[in-house]
Subunit: 249 residues, 2 copies
Protein backbone atom coordinates (compact mmCIF):
# COMPACT_ATOMS: atom_id res chain seq x y z
CA UNK A 1 0.00 0.00 0.00
CA UNK A 2 1.39 3.40 -0.96
CA UNK A 3 1.30 6.56 1.15
CA UNK A 4 -1.59 8.16 -0.73
CA UNK A 5 -3.83 5.12 -0.24
CA UNK A 6 -2.68 4.78 3.35
CA UNK A 7 -3.71 8.41 3.94
CA UNK A 8 -7.06 7.83 2.29
CA UNK A 9 -7.88 4.62 4.17
CA UNK A 10 -6.72 6.08 7.47
CA UNK A 11 -9.22 8.95 7.34
CA UNK A 12 -11.30 9.86 10.32
CA UNK A 13 -12.83 13.26 11.06
CA UNK A 14 -10.88 15.22 13.65
CA UNK A 15 -12.77 17.51 16.02
CA UNK A 16 -10.03 18.28 18.55
CA UNK A 17 -7.09 20.31 17.36
CA UNK A 18 -3.94 21.60 18.97
CA UNK A 19 -3.68 25.36 19.36
CA UNK A 20 -1.35 25.85 16.41
CA UNK A 21 -2.10 27.71 13.19
CA UNK A 22 -1.23 26.42 9.73
CA UNK A 23 1.60 28.21 7.96
CA UNK A 24 1.03 30.17 4.76
CA UNK A 25 2.91 27.42 2.92
CA UNK A 26 0.62 24.71 4.28
CA UNK A 27 -2.46 26.73 3.31
CA UNK A 28 -1.14 27.25 -0.20
CA UNK A 29 -0.26 23.57 -0.65
CA UNK A 30 -3.80 22.67 0.39
CA UNK A 31 -5.40 25.19 -1.99
CA UNK A 32 -3.13 24.21 -4.89
CA UNK A 33 -4.02 20.59 -4.27
CA UNK A 34 -7.71 21.52 -4.38
CA UNK A 35 -7.21 23.28 -7.69
CA UNK A 36 -5.44 20.29 -9.24
CA UNK A 37 -8.66 18.25 -9.15
CA UNK A 38 -10.57 17.43 -12.31
CA UNK A 39 -13.03 20.13 -13.30
CA UNK A 40 -15.96 19.76 -15.69
CA UNK A 41 -14.99 21.22 -19.12
CA UNK A 42 -12.27 23.22 -17.30
CA UNK A 43 -15.00 25.36 -15.68
CA UNK A 44 -13.28 25.67 -12.24
CA UNK A 45 -16.57 26.61 -10.63
CA UNK A 46 -15.64 27.24 -7.00
CA UNK A 47 -13.96 29.64 -4.63
CA UNK A 48 -12.35 28.92 -1.30
CA UNK A 49 -12.52 31.38 1.58
CA UNK A 50 -10.11 31.03 4.50
CA UNK A 51 -11.30 32.52 7.78
CA UNK A 52 -8.48 34.05 9.79
CA UNK A 53 -10.50 36.65 11.70
CA UNK A 54 -11.13 35.27 15.20
CA UNK A 55 -14.44 37.08 15.72
CA UNK A 56 -15.73 35.73 12.42
CA UNK A 57 -14.64 32.22 13.35
CA UNK A 58 -16.68 32.52 16.56
CA UNK A 59 -19.69 33.58 14.50
CA UNK A 60 -19.34 30.38 12.52
CA UNK A 61 -19.35 28.38 15.77
CA UNK A 62 -22.79 29.87 16.45
CA UNK A 63 -24.11 29.27 12.93
CA UNK A 64 -23.24 25.59 12.97
CA UNK A 65 -24.78 25.09 16.42
CA UNK A 66 -21.94 25.31 18.88
CA UNK A 67 -19.17 23.16 17.50
CA UNK A 68 -16.09 24.73 19.13
CA UNK A 69 -13.65 23.12 16.67
CA UNK A 70 -15.01 25.42 13.97
CA UNK A 71 -12.99 28.16 15.70
CA UNK A 72 -10.39 26.09 17.60
CA UNK A 73 -8.33 24.73 14.72
CA UNK A 74 -5.31 25.45 12.57
CA UNK A 75 -7.31 26.96 9.73
CA UNK A 76 -10.92 27.17 8.67
CA UNK A 77 -11.83 26.99 4.99
CA UNK A 78 -15.24 27.59 3.44
CA UNK A 79 -15.78 25.96 0.05
CA UNK A 80 -18.19 27.81 -2.19
CA UNK A 81 -19.90 26.66 -5.36
CA UNK A 82 -19.23 29.62 -7.63
CA UNK A 83 -20.54 30.57 -11.08
CA UNK A 84 -20.19 34.28 -10.39
CA UNK A 85 -16.98 34.77 -12.34
CA UNK A 86 -18.61 32.94 -15.24
CA UNK A 87 -21.48 35.42 -15.31
CA UNK A 88 -18.87 38.18 -15.30
CA UNK A 89 -16.71 36.69 -18.04
CA UNK A 90 -19.79 36.38 -20.23
CA UNK A 91 -20.32 40.13 -19.88
CA UNK A 92 -16.74 40.63 -21.04
CA UNK A 93 -17.32 38.30 -23.99
CA UNK A 94 -20.83 39.67 -24.68
CA UNK A 95 -22.47 36.28 -24.63
CA UNK A 96 -25.74 35.31 -22.96
CA UNK A 97 -24.88 32.51 -20.59
CA UNK A 98 -27.58 33.00 -17.94
CA UNK A 99 -29.95 30.24 -19.11
CA UNK A 100 -27.03 27.87 -18.85
CA UNK A 101 -25.65 29.16 -15.53
CA UNK A 102 -29.08 29.12 -13.95
CA UNK A 103 -29.80 25.52 -14.97
CA UNK A 104 -30.00 22.46 -12.74
CA UNK A 105 -27.22 20.88 -14.81
CA UNK A 106 -24.78 23.68 -14.03
CA UNK A 107 -25.85 23.69 -10.39
CA UNK A 108 -24.81 20.04 -10.31
CA UNK A 109 -21.56 20.84 -12.10
CA UNK A 110 -20.59 23.52 -9.60
CA UNK A 111 -21.43 21.28 -6.63
CA UNK A 112 -19.42 18.39 -8.02
CA UNK A 113 -16.49 20.63 -8.98
CA UNK A 114 -16.37 22.11 -5.49
CA UNK A 115 -16.54 18.74 -3.78
CA UNK A 116 -13.76 17.24 -5.94
CA UNK A 117 -11.53 20.20 -5.08
CA UNK A 118 -12.36 19.93 -1.39
CA UNK A 119 -11.54 16.25 -1.21
CA UNK A 120 -8.15 16.90 -2.76
CA UNK A 121 -7.62 19.54 -0.07
CA UNK A 122 -8.60 17.02 2.59
CA UNK A 123 -6.21 14.33 1.35
CA UNK A 124 -3.36 16.83 0.96
CA UNK A 125 -3.88 18.06 4.53
CA UNK A 126 -4.12 14.56 5.96
CA UNK A 127 -1.02 13.44 4.08
CA UNK A 128 0.89 16.20 5.93
CA UNK A 129 -0.20 14.78 9.29
CA UNK A 130 -3.04 17.25 9.73
CA UNK A 131 -6.61 16.31 10.57
CA UNK A 132 -9.75 17.61 8.90
CA UNK A 133 -13.46 17.83 9.52
CA UNK A 134 -16.05 18.81 6.95
CA UNK A 135 -18.57 21.26 8.39
CA UNK A 136 -21.91 20.81 6.61
CA UNK A 137 -23.41 22.73 9.53
CA UNK A 138 -22.77 26.04 7.77
CA UNK A 139 -25.84 25.14 5.72
CA UNK A 140 -27.92 25.52 8.90
CA UNK A 141 -28.17 29.19 8.09
CA UNK A 142 -26.79 30.23 4.72
CA UNK A 143 -28.42 33.67 4.96
CA UNK A 144 -26.14 34.41 7.87
CA UNK A 145 -23.11 32.76 6.26
CA UNK A 146 -23.72 34.83 3.16
CA UNK A 147 -23.83 38.00 5.24
CA UNK A 148 -20.59 37.02 7.00
CA UNK A 149 -18.78 36.15 3.76
CA UNK A 150 -20.44 38.75 1.52
CA UNK A 151 -20.95 36.16 -1.22
CA UNK A 152 -22.78 37.53 -4.28
CA UNK A 153 -25.39 35.85 -6.49
CA UNK A 154 -24.37 32.68 -8.33
CA UNK A 155 -22.36 31.68 -5.25
CA UNK A 156 -23.39 29.15 -2.57
CA UNK A 157 -21.20 28.40 0.45
CA UNK A 158 -21.45 24.59 0.57
CA UNK A 159 -19.45 23.43 3.55
CA UNK A 160 -16.61 24.41 5.80
CA UNK A 161 -13.49 22.43 6.50
CA UNK A 162 -11.64 22.69 9.81
CA UNK A 163 -7.98 21.71 9.46
CA UNK A 164 -5.29 21.44 12.10
CA UNK A 165 -2.96 19.34 14.19
CA UNK A 166 -4.99 16.51 15.72
CA UNK A 167 -5.18 16.57 19.51
CA UNK A 168 -7.34 13.46 19.63
CA UNK A 169 -8.01 10.75 17.06
CA UNK A 170 -11.40 9.10 16.90
CA UNK A 171 -12.01 5.54 15.83
CA UNK A 172 -12.96 4.86 12.25
CA UNK A 173 -16.58 3.93 11.73
CA UNK A 174 -17.02 0.86 9.53
CA UNK A 175 -18.53 1.75 6.14
CA UNK A 176 -21.21 -0.19 4.30
CA UNK A 177 -19.69 -3.49 3.12
CA UNK A 178 -18.08 -3.01 -0.29
CA UNK A 179 -20.47 -5.41 -2.02
CA UNK A 180 -23.47 -3.30 -0.87
CA UNK A 181 -22.13 -0.18 -2.54
CA UNK A 182 -20.31 -1.62 -5.53
CA UNK A 183 -22.34 -3.40 -8.19
CA UNK A 184 -21.50 -4.57 -11.68
CA UNK A 185 -23.23 -3.76 -14.98
CA UNK A 186 -26.54 -2.84 -13.42
CA UNK A 187 -28.17 -1.66 -10.23
CA UNK A 188 -29.37 -4.44 -7.95
CA UNK A 189 -33.12 -3.85 -8.01
CA UNK A 190 -33.95 -6.36 -5.32
CA UNK A 191 -35.46 -4.82 -2.19
CA UNK A 192 -35.33 -8.09 -0.28
CA UNK A 193 -31.60 -8.44 -0.90
CA UNK A 194 -31.09 -4.78 0.02
CA UNK A 195 -32.96 -5.31 3.29
CA UNK A 196 -30.83 -8.34 4.09
CA UNK A 197 -27.73 -6.28 3.37
CA UNK A 198 -28.96 -3.52 5.65
CA UNK A 199 -29.58 -6.02 8.46
CA UNK A 200 -26.09 -7.40 7.97
CA UNK A 201 -24.62 -3.91 8.17
CA UNK A 202 -26.73 -3.13 11.25
CA UNK A 203 -25.00 -5.97 13.06
CA UNK A 204 -21.58 -4.54 12.17
CA UNK A 205 -22.52 -1.05 13.35
CA UNK A 206 -24.25 -2.30 16.47
CA UNK A 207 -21.15 -4.30 17.43
CA UNK A 208 -18.98 -1.25 16.76
CA UNK A 209 -20.99 1.00 19.13
CA UNK A 210 -21.21 -1.67 21.84
CA UNK A 211 -17.44 -2.23 21.87
CA UNK A 212 -16.75 1.47 21.86
CA UNK A 213 -19.10 2.28 24.76
CA UNK A 214 -18.65 -0.80 26.97
CA UNK A 215 -22.03 -2.06 25.88
CA UNK A 216 -23.84 1.19 26.72
CA UNK A 217 -24.82 2.33 23.24
CA UNK A 218 -27.36 0.28 21.31
CA UNK A 219 -27.72 1.61 17.80
CA UNK A 220 -28.05 0.46 14.22
CA UNK A 221 -27.36 2.29 10.99
CA UNK A 222 -30.93 2.05 9.74
CA UNK A 223 -32.30 3.41 13.05
CA UNK A 224 -29.75 6.23 13.05
CA UNK A 225 -30.47 7.18 9.45
CA UNK A 226 -34.26 6.91 9.76
CA UNK A 227 -34.19 9.15 12.82
CA UNK A 228 -31.91 11.67 11.14
CA UNK A 229 -33.96 11.72 7.94
CA UNK A 230 -37.32 11.89 9.71
CA UNK A 231 -36.31 15.37 10.88
CA UNK A 232 -36.95 17.83 8.10
CA UNK A 233 -33.83 19.92 8.12
CA UNK A 234 -32.77 22.90 6.05
CA UNK A 235 -36.00 22.95 4.11
CA UNK A 236 -35.32 26.62 3.25
CA UNK A 237 -32.56 25.44 0.90
CA UNK A 238 -34.53 25.42 -2.33
CA UNK A 239 -35.55 29.06 -1.87
CA UNK A 240 -32.03 30.06 -0.92
CA UNK A 241 -30.46 28.36 -3.94
CA UNK A 242 -33.03 29.90 -6.25
CA UNK A 243 -32.46 33.33 -4.71
CA UNK A 244 -28.81 32.86 -5.68
CA UNK A 245 -30.19 32.29 -9.21
CA UNK A 246 -29.04 28.69 -9.36
CA UNK A 247 -31.01 25.49 -10.08
CA UNK A 248 -33.82 27.60 -11.57
CA UNK A 249 -34.56 25.75 -14.83
CA UNK B 1 6.49 16.99 -0.95
CA UNK B 2 5.01 13.63 -0.02
CA UNK B 3 3.68 10.98 -2.41
CA UNK B 4 0.01 11.84 -1.85
CA UNK B 5 0.52 15.50 -2.70
CA UNK B 6 2.76 14.58 -5.60
CA UNK B 7 -0.01 12.37 -6.97
CA UNK B 8 -2.57 15.14 -6.50
CA UNK B 9 -0.48 17.87 -8.14
CA UNK B 10 0.55 15.59 -10.98
CA UNK B 11 -3.04 14.97 -12.08
CA UNK B 12 -4.05 15.23 -15.70
CA UNK B 13 -6.98 13.47 -17.34
CA UNK B 14 -5.97 10.41 -19.33
CA UNK B 15 -7.93 9.54 -22.48
CA UNK B 16 -5.62 6.90 -23.99
CA UNK B 17 -5.26 3.65 -22.13
CA UNK B 18 -3.31 0.46 -22.70
CA UNK B 19 -5.35 -2.62 -23.46
CA UNK B 20 -5.07 -4.11 -19.97
CA UNK B 21 -7.86 -4.65 -17.46
CA UNK B 22 -7.63 -3.76 -13.79
CA UNK B 23 -7.40 -6.68 -11.39
CA UNK B 24 -10.12 -7.43 -8.88
CA UNK B 25 -7.71 -6.26 -6.17
CA UNK B 26 -7.14 -2.90 -7.87
CA UNK B 27 -10.90 -2.40 -8.28
CA UNK B 28 -11.51 -3.19 -4.63
CA UNK B 29 -8.75 -0.85 -3.44
CA UNK B 30 -10.28 1.94 -5.51
CA UNK B 31 -13.79 1.32 -4.17
CA UNK B 32 -12.59 1.00 -0.57
CA UNK B 33 -10.73 4.27 -0.98
CA UNK B 34 -13.92 5.90 -2.25
CA UNK B 35 -15.82 4.62 0.76
CA UNK B 36 -13.25 6.02 3.19
CA UNK B 37 -14.17 9.61 2.27
CA UNK B 38 -16.08 11.82 4.66
CA UNK B 39 -19.83 11.43 4.40
CA UNK B 40 -22.46 13.87 5.65
CA UNK B 41 -23.91 12.56 8.96
CA UNK B 42 -22.64 9.09 7.97
CA UNK B 43 -25.32 8.95 5.25
CA UNK B 44 -23.13 7.20 2.59
CA UNK B 45 -25.46 8.35 -0.15
CA UNK B 46 -23.96 6.81 -3.28
CA UNK B 47 -23.47 3.61 -5.22
CA UNK B 48 -20.75 2.72 -7.67
CA UNK B 49 -21.43 0.58 -10.72
CA UNK B 50 -18.54 -1.04 -12.56
CA UNK B 51 -19.17 -1.85 -16.22
CA UNK B 52 -17.48 -5.05 -17.31
CA UNK B 53 -19.85 -6.03 -20.11
CA UNK B 54 -18.23 -5.04 -23.42
CA UNK B 55 -21.48 -4.40 -25.26
CA UNK B 56 -22.66 -2.13 -22.44
CA UNK B 57 -19.39 -0.24 -22.50
CA UNK B 58 -19.91 0.40 -26.22
CA UNK B 59 -23.39 1.73 -25.48
CA UNK B 60 -21.80 4.23 -23.11
CA UNK B 61 -19.44 5.35 -25.88
CA UNK B 62 -22.54 6.28 -27.90
CA UNK B 63 -24.29 8.03 -25.00
CA UNK B 64 -21.36 10.30 -24.26
CA UNK B 65 -20.93 11.21 -27.93
CA UNK B 66 -18.24 8.94 -29.30
CA UNK B 67 -15.43 9.04 -26.77
CA UNK B 68 -13.71 5.69 -27.43
CA UNK B 69 -11.84 5.70 -24.09
CA UNK B 70 -15.16 5.12 -22.35
CA UNK B 71 -14.88 1.53 -23.62
CA UNK B 72 -11.12 1.26 -24.22
CA UNK B 73 -9.81 1.38 -20.66
CA UNK B 74 -8.88 -0.79 -17.70
CA UNK B 75 -12.21 -0.35 -15.95
CA UNK B 76 -15.23 1.92 -16.24
CA UNK B 77 -17.01 3.09 -13.09
CA UNK B 78 -20.30 4.96 -12.91
CA UNK B 79 -20.81 6.98 -9.73
CA UNK B 80 -24.45 7.36 -8.72
CA UNK B 81 -26.00 9.72 -6.20
CA UNK B 82 -28.17 7.33 -4.22
CA UNK B 83 -30.86 7.85 -1.60
CA UNK B 84 -32.71 4.70 -2.60
CA UNK B 85 -31.46 2.55 0.26
CA UNK B 86 -32.44 5.34 2.64
CA UNK B 87 -36.04 5.27 1.38
CA UNK B 88 -35.93 1.50 1.92
CA UNK B 89 -34.45 1.63 5.41
CA UNK B 90 -37.16 4.09 6.42
CA UNK B 91 -39.76 1.50 5.43
CA UNK B 92 -37.95 -0.99 7.68
CA UNK B 93 -37.94 1.52 10.52
CA UNK B 94 -41.48 2.75 9.78
CA UNK B 95 -40.48 6.39 9.59
CA UNK B 96 -41.58 8.96 7.04
CA UNK B 97 -38.39 10.30 5.51
CA UNK B 98 -39.66 11.27 2.06
CA UNK B 99 -39.99 15.03 2.66
CA UNK B 100 -36.37 14.97 3.74
CA UNK B 101 -35.06 12.71 0.97
CA UNK B 102 -36.90 14.70 -1.67
CA UNK B 103 -35.48 18.05 -0.51
CA UNK B 104 -32.94 20.23 -2.27
CA UNK B 105 -30.72 19.96 0.82
CA UNK B 106 -30.51 16.18 0.58
CA UNK B 107 -30.01 16.38 -3.19
CA UNK B 108 -26.97 18.52 -2.44
CA UNK B 109 -25.82 16.09 0.25
CA UNK B 110 -25.97 13.11 -2.09
CA UNK B 111 -24.12 14.99 -4.86
CA UNK B 112 -21.37 16.12 -2.50
CA UNK B 113 -21.09 12.68 -0.88
CA UNK B 114 -20.72 11.02 -4.28
CA UNK B 115 -18.13 13.50 -5.50
CA UNK B 116 -15.99 13.17 -2.34
CA UNK B 117 -16.00 9.40 -2.75
CA UNK B 118 -15.14 9.66 -6.44
CA UNK B 119 -12.20 11.95 -5.87
CA UNK B 120 -10.77 9.50 -3.33
CA UNK B 121 -11.13 6.81 -5.98
CA UNK B 122 -9.31 9.03 -8.49
CA UNK B 123 -6.39 9.73 -6.17
CA UNK B 124 -6.11 6.08 -5.15
CA UNK B 125 -6.01 5.01 -8.80
CA UNK B 126 -3.48 7.66 -9.77
CA UNK B 127 -1.26 6.80 -6.81
CA UNK B 128 -1.04 3.26 -8.22
CA UNK B 129 0.25 4.59 -11.54
CA UNK B 130 -3.12 4.43 -13.25
CA UNK B 131 -4.72 7.29 -15.14
CA UNK B 132 -8.31 8.47 -14.84
CA UNK B 133 -10.83 10.57 -16.70
CA UNK B 134 -14.16 11.77 -15.34
CA UNK B 135 -16.95 11.27 -17.86
CA UNK B 136 -19.61 13.95 -17.30
CA UNK B 137 -20.87 13.05 -20.77
CA UNK B 138 -23.08 10.32 -19.33
CA UNK B 139 -25.38 13.22 -18.36
CA UNK B 140 -25.99 13.82 -22.06
CA UNK B 141 -28.73 11.25 -21.87
CA UNK B 142 -29.59 10.01 -18.40
CA UNK B 143 -32.80 8.37 -19.60
CA UNK B 144 -30.67 6.00 -21.63
CA UNK B 145 -28.08 5.56 -18.89
CA UNK B 146 -30.87 4.76 -16.48
CA UNK B 147 -32.22 2.14 -18.87
CA UNK B 148 -28.73 0.63 -19.25
CA UNK B 149 -28.03 0.57 -15.51
CA UNK B 150 -31.60 -0.10 -14.31
CA UNK B 151 -31.27 2.55 -11.61
CA UNK B 152 -34.46 3.04 -9.57
CA UNK B 153 -35.98 6.25 -8.21
CA UNK B 154 -33.92 8.28 -5.72
CA UNK B 155 -30.83 7.42 -7.78
CA UNK B 156 -29.06 9.64 -10.31
CA UNK B 157 -26.00 8.45 -12.28
CA UNK B 158 -23.74 11.53 -11.97
CA UNK B 159 -20.59 10.77 -13.93
CA UNK B 160 -18.44 7.96 -15.18
CA UNK B 161 -14.77 7.42 -14.48
CA UNK B 162 -12.51 5.65 -16.97
CA UNK B 163 -9.47 4.14 -15.26
CA UNK B 164 -6.51 2.33 -16.76
CA UNK B 165 -2.85 2.19 -17.62
CA UNK B 166 -1.97 5.45 -19.40
CA UNK B 167 -0.83 5.03 -23.01
CA UNK B 168 -0.34 8.77 -23.46
CA UNK B 169 0.02 11.58 -20.96
CA UNK B 170 -1.40 15.02 -21.76
CA UNK B 171 0.07 18.27 -20.51
CA UNK B 172 -1.39 19.84 -17.42
CA UNK B 173 -3.52 22.89 -18.07
CA UNK B 174 -2.66 25.80 -15.77
CA UNK B 175 -5.43 26.50 -13.26
CA UNK B 176 -6.70 29.91 -12.22
CA UNK B 177 -3.98 31.64 -10.17
CA UNK B 178 -4.33 30.71 -6.52
CA UNK B 179 -5.12 34.26 -5.44
CA UNK B 180 -8.13 34.38 -7.80
CA UNK B 181 -9.72 31.37 -6.19
CA UNK B 182 -8.58 31.69 -2.59
CA UNK B 183 -9.80 34.67 -0.58
CA UNK B 184 -9.67 35.48 3.10
CA UNK B 185 -12.51 36.38 5.46
CA UNK B 186 -14.87 37.57 2.77
CA UNK B 187 -15.66 37.27 -0.90
CA UNK B 188 -13.95 39.86 -3.08
CA UNK B 189 -16.96 41.76 -4.41
CA UNK B 190 -15.03 43.87 -6.86
CA UNK B 191 -15.96 43.26 -10.50
CA UNK B 192 -13.16 45.44 -11.81
CA UNK B 193 -10.54 43.44 -9.92
CA UNK B 194 -12.18 40.20 -11.06
CA UNK B 195 -12.03 41.35 -14.67
CA UNK B 196 -8.35 42.25 -14.32
CA UNK B 197 -7.74 38.81 -12.83
CA UNK B 198 -9.55 37.17 -15.72
CA UNK B 199 -7.45 39.13 -18.24
CA UNK B 200 -4.32 38.04 -16.40
CA UNK B 201 -5.41 34.42 -16.53
CA UNK B 202 -6.32 34.76 -20.22
CA UNK B 203 -2.70 35.61 -20.95
CA UNK B 204 -1.51 32.49 -19.12
CA UNK B 205 -3.96 30.25 -20.99
CA UNK B 206 -3.31 31.89 -24.34
CA UNK B 207 0.45 31.35 -23.92
CA UNK B 208 -0.18 27.73 -22.93
CA UNK B 209 -2.18 26.96 -26.09
CA UNK B 210 0.26 28.79 -28.34
CA UNK B 211 3.23 26.86 -26.99
CA UNK B 212 1.40 23.58 -27.24
CA UNK B 213 0.25 24.06 -30.84
CA UNK B 214 3.26 25.85 -32.35
CA UNK B 215 1.34 29.10 -32.37
CA UNK B 216 -1.69 27.63 -34.15
CA UNK B 217 -4.29 27.81 -31.40
CA UNK B 218 -5.43 31.23 -30.23
CA UNK B 219 -7.72 30.90 -27.25
CA UNK B 220 -8.48 32.45 -23.88
CA UNK B 221 -10.25 31.04 -20.86
CA UNK B 222 -13.03 33.61 -20.92
CA UNK B 223 -13.70 33.01 -24.64
CA UNK B 224 -13.68 29.26 -24.11
CA UNK B 225 -16.03 29.43 -21.14
CA UNK B 226 -18.40 31.97 -22.70
CA UNK B 227 -18.70 29.81 -25.79
CA UNK B 228 -19.27 26.66 -23.78
CA UNK B 229 -21.84 28.33 -21.51
CA UNK B 230 -23.68 30.06 -24.33
CA UNK B 231 -24.75 26.62 -25.51
CA UNK B 232 -27.72 25.50 -23.45
CA UNK B 233 -26.85 21.92 -22.68
CA UNK B 234 -28.68 19.23 -20.79
CA UNK B 235 -31.64 21.47 -20.08
CA UNK B 236 -33.76 18.34 -19.49
CA UNK B 237 -31.91 17.82 -16.22
CA UNK B 238 -34.40 19.47 -13.88
CA UNK B 239 -37.21 17.25 -15.15
CA UNK B 240 -35.07 14.16 -14.94
CA UNK B 241 -33.95 14.86 -11.37
CA UNK B 242 -37.52 15.59 -10.30
CA UNK B 243 -38.72 12.42 -11.97
CA UNK B 244 -36.22 10.59 -9.77
CA UNK B 245 -38.05 12.35 -6.86
CA UNK B 246 -35.03 14.41 -5.87
CA UNK B 247 -34.63 18.20 -5.46
CA UNK B 248 -38.44 18.54 -5.33
CA UNK B 249 -38.91 20.82 -2.30
Amino acid sequence: MNQAIETILNHRSVRNFEDKLLTREQIETIVKSAQAASTSSFIQAYSIIGITDRAKKEKFVEVVGNQPYVAANGHFFVFCADLNRHALLAEMERKDVLPSIESTEKFMVTLIDTALAAQNAAIAAESMGLGICYIGGIRNNLEEVQALLKTPEYVVPLFGMAVGYPAKLNDQKPRLPLEHVYMENEYTQDSELFKEQLEEYNQIISKYYKERTDGKREDTWTAQMAQMLERKSRMYMKDFINKQKLDLR
